[in-house]
Amino acid sequence: MNLNYSDEQNMLRDQVLKFCETNYDFTDREKILKLEDGYDQNNWNQFAELGWLAIPFAEENGGFNFGPIELTVLFEEFGKALVLEPYLSSVVMSGTLLEGSSLPHKVSLIEKIISGESHISVAYAEPSIGYNFYNGTTSVSEKGDDLVLNGSKTLVLNAQKSDHFIVLANKNDQPCLVLVDKSSDGFSMLSFQSLGGQTCGDLTFENVVVSPDAMLAEGDAAVTLFNSMLNVATLCISAEAVGAMAASYQKTVQYTKERQQFSQPISNFQVLQHRMVDMFIETEITKSLLIKATLQLDSGDPEADKTISALKVQVGKAGKYIGQQAVQLHGGMGVSDEMSIGHYLKRFTVIDSMFGNTQYHLNKFQAS
């Protein structure tokens, strides 16, 4: 029994913390928000130089062979600073799918992710299927030796910067995952800004021809692979939420100590003290489920699915509570765009919406 982070993991945390302190105060972040890409390419290059883009990949693919623990360390720190760079989509999501795939040229694709040269996004959502990602209508058919892709995807993270997309589609009524080059004929994309400042895209495929070599997985293998990606991605945004929760209650404590009303700091008022204690407790409780889920994913425990759902429920509820109370205790400043605190509330709202919201995961937890 030992819940301490290793020296290596602590070093990683310190490194990310230092990076965020130097490059990611709220003014830095405001500038990044104005960039067309939705993030700062210089930061991304630094991520590559620091080796962060190699974290989850196996050594034989040029990675550090780190796992869920290191990813949660990274994301917790990202969450505190509200980091905008597309680590989730370009490294965690596409990386997990590529690494678990049978794609013949996956090593060269992974190398380009690690070097920061290439972004790949995963396209899974469709307009009217909600969180039932396997119910989409995008389909792959065979035409001679080639495959032809038709349909559309939406809410694709960082689409405008990605050169390839991993598309969840159907082939003979079975789910499959297929890699599509954005320069393919019949491919089109419409990029838009997402809540919180990152970019998203709608993709359309009209008779897009792809080689059979572009198939990552089919049938049950595709489902297993995609589900495991969803688990890791959910874990990462949950860790991000835990970081954002810690920052939210700490910033709130700080603010109430400074803010004077009725000739005293408002932190003197017990009603506010207890509210902040509740925010602290919710943060710690969420962290407990985060660690539990992380260790279960790390060890391949079959209970991990259920714990991930429990975690996502807790993240949804606690994020909403902490985000709202942080705004409330900041008073009018809490709803000002020029203060960071409201941006945490935005991020909690986005995180709850991703990969199944509170209601969805509560249903899943009950059914498991």
Binding site: M1, L3, V277, I285, Q314
Partner: protein, 389 residues
């Protein structure tokens, strides 16, 4: 990071489990399983069973007759007791006054009291709260005045759990009126048979007689029964509060209760109830792992302080929500009132068998967020110690 228990610890757990399966006193087990409340003799039999197994001093050091178990072993032991549906160990002797005596008492006091506490030859109760001193415990006003070799005690204590069964009471008393109210408090042991002590029942809203008022009128107590130094009682009381970290969250008991609730409500097809049960299960899972984090910190040599307040707050909230869900599941069938003595004329009311006990538990468990430092006091502790406000 690794949350698994060692082979040795798992073997330890198995030994406890099989001993409980085979040796747990049958008459106590049967009452427990049927939800019948235990009488004084049952509780004595149960605690004497613990002593016979060598488990009574489960969190005491070996030199004082305890097991010398590691924090992990203590954790596993308490878990197994709950899984086997054992009664909660009475804390007053084993967890409260015992550790104070072996830590701050003199040799004579250790020799006199510790063996009887371990063997459960004496039933202890706690004399802390007073009518005018609840959350502000240090304002207590029961006075002990030295008169030759004796203290003369006057005043009253309240909410004294199971004082009607107790042989001894440990009390916080005021031996001096000082500017700082914490400084004039002393810790003294009193034989309940001493003349001048009167115990009056307080009946709680569930109809049960669990707590009492204890009145002291010119009660003469040998000065040799004062623990440690006069005026240092507050320090000992604080030590005592910090001593019991596990168990405060009642996680294993709540897990058993939740499993029973799921079992009993499975055929109700009440989707709204099922959803609330699922939400509670998630909260309980989170609390259990929070307790494991505390355990891991202790194993690592840390001394968690205010963090334990999270366990108290969350643990009692979950206990209370569980009792609420039982009541919700029982619906209208909570109406027939079953007093502590059972139904009048042995009538067997309509509705599920858990209906009547559930409402008694619901009412009784309102105490959990009030006792042991109310949840509001726990939040004050966290606000000050962790948030620094």
């Amino acid at each position: 990071m690794d949350i698994s228990f060692s082979e040795q610890d798992l073997q330890f757990k198995e030994e406890i489990r099989s001993a409980l399966e085979n040796e747990f006193p049958t008459h106590v087990r049967e009452k427990q399983n049927q939800g019948i409340s235990l009488d004084k003799q049952d509780m004595i039999d149960y605690h004497k069973f613990l002593y016979t197994k060598g488990w009574a001093g489960y969190n005491w050091p070996v030199e004082h007759g305890g097991t010398g178990w590691t924090p992990v072993q203590i954790y596993l032991f308490l878990n197994e007791l709950a899984i086997a549906n054992c009664p909660t160990i009475l804390p007053f002797g084993l967890n409260m006054v015992g550790p104070v005596i072996y830590t701050f008492g003199n040799q004579e006091q250790k020799d006199k009291f510790l063996p009887d506490i371990l063997q459960f030859n004496t039933w202890w109760c706690q004399g802390y709260s007073e009518p005018g001193s609840g959350s502000d415990l240090a304002s207590l006003n029961t006075k002990a005045v030295l008169d030759g070799d004796n203290y003369i005690i006057n005043g009253s204590k309240t909410w004294t759990t199971l004082a009607q069964n107790a042989d001894w009471i440990f009390c916080l008393v005021r031996t001096e009126t000082t500017n700082k109210k914490q400084e004039g408090i002393s810790f003294i042991l009193v034989d309940m048979n001493t003349p001048g002590i009167e115990v009056k029942p307080i009946i709680t809203i569930d109809g049960d007689h669990e707590v009492n008022s204890v009145f002291f009128t010119d009660v003469k107590v040998p000065a040799s029964q004062l623990i440690g130094e006069e005026g240092k009682g507050w320090t000992y009381a604080k030590f005592l509060l910090a001593h019991e970290r596990f168990g405060i969250a009642a996680v294993p008991v709540s897990k058993v209760s939740l499993a029973n609730l799921k079992d009993k409500t499975a055929n109700l097809q009440d989707l709204d109830l099922d959803r609330k049960i699922a939400e509670l299960e998630i909260d309980l899972m989170a609390l259990e792992f929070t307790e494991l984090r505390t355990l891991a910190a202790i194993v690592d040599g840390a001394h968690p302080g205010a963090e334990s307040s999270i366990l108290k707050i969350r643990g009692t909230e979950i206990q209370q929500r569980l009792t609420e869900l039982y009541v919700e599941a029982a619906g209208q069938y909570i109406l027939p009132y079953e007093g502590p003595e059972g139904f009048e004329s042995n009538r067997s009311p309509a509705g599920p068998d858990f209906a009547s006990p559930s409402v008694a538990s619901y009412l009784n468990f309102r105490k959990t967020s009030i006792y042991g430092g109310s949840n509001e006091i726990q939040k004050n502790i966290i606000a000050k110690a962790i948030l620094g406000v």
